[in-house]
């Protein structure tokens, strides 16, 4: 894929009147559920539901990221109830359009990464049902 094609895939063409895709942000934390949140973001991007987006950019307060998070439809995925991703949004007074927590998908938080593939599949099935 060329750089231009990648860019066109990434930027929503709201400019030209097309409905903008949602941006998806995963907490990507240092546990199985944090990494599952990241995997879910990637899988939802691959299936065309939205565009993977950078939570770190929002957390760092970079203006383009914060303003995009304020203006776009957002799907925010936290790994656990500590809710770091949601709290990053709250810091800027933003409420996610849709919000999910991986531990509410029947997956227990731990610090082992051996079963990520299976756990991601389970979580993906849950989230796809909710998103429709």
């Amino acid at each position: 894929m060329s750089e231009k094609e990648i860019s066109l895939k990434t930027v929503n063409n709201a400019c030209c009147g097309a409905e903008a895709k949602a941006v998806i942000l995963g907490c990507s934390g240092g546990s199985n559920v944090g990494q599952i949140a990241n995997n879910l973001m990637i899988e939802l991007d691959k299936s065309g539901i939205g565009n993977a987006y950078c939570l770190a950019g929002v957390g760092a307060g970079l203006s383009g990221f914060v303003e995009t998070a304020k203006s776009a439809r957002t799907i925010v995925i936290d790994g656990c109830p500590v809710a770091c991703a949601k709290k990053v949004f709250e810091k800027y007074g933003i409420a996610p359009t849709q919000y999910f927590v991986v531990t509410e998908m029947g997956i227990e938080k731990n610090h082992f990464f051996d079963a990520l593939k299976e756990e991601t599949a389970q979580a993906l099935s849950y989230i796809r049902e909710k998103i429709g």
Partner: protein
């Protein structure tokens, strides 16, 4: 001098936002350089996922909307 950047590929909305920015600068009496940023990789590097967007002195102020003259004047 302030620098206003209009981020977008150049559709009608981008053109309207540019016109509004020029008018806002004139009405507010603020000396501004207006730059159009049309290269998508540059737009993405700024974290902008919806265009048109407007930045002032490197700070993105709005994304995915055409700000009115009055709204831009307040930002200046």
């Amino acid at each position: 001098m302030k620098k206003i950047q209009i981020l977008g590929t150049g559709c009608a909305k981008c053109i309207k936002l540019t016109e509004n920015a020029k008018k806002a600068a004139e009405e507010a009496g603020v000396a501004c350089e207006i730059e159009k940023v049309t290269e998508l990789t540059k737009i993405i590097d700024l974290g902008v996922m919806m265009t048109p967007a407007l930045a002032i002195d490197g700070e993105v102020k709005s994304v995915g909307k055409v700000l009115s003259v009055e709204e831009i004047k307040k930002l200046l």
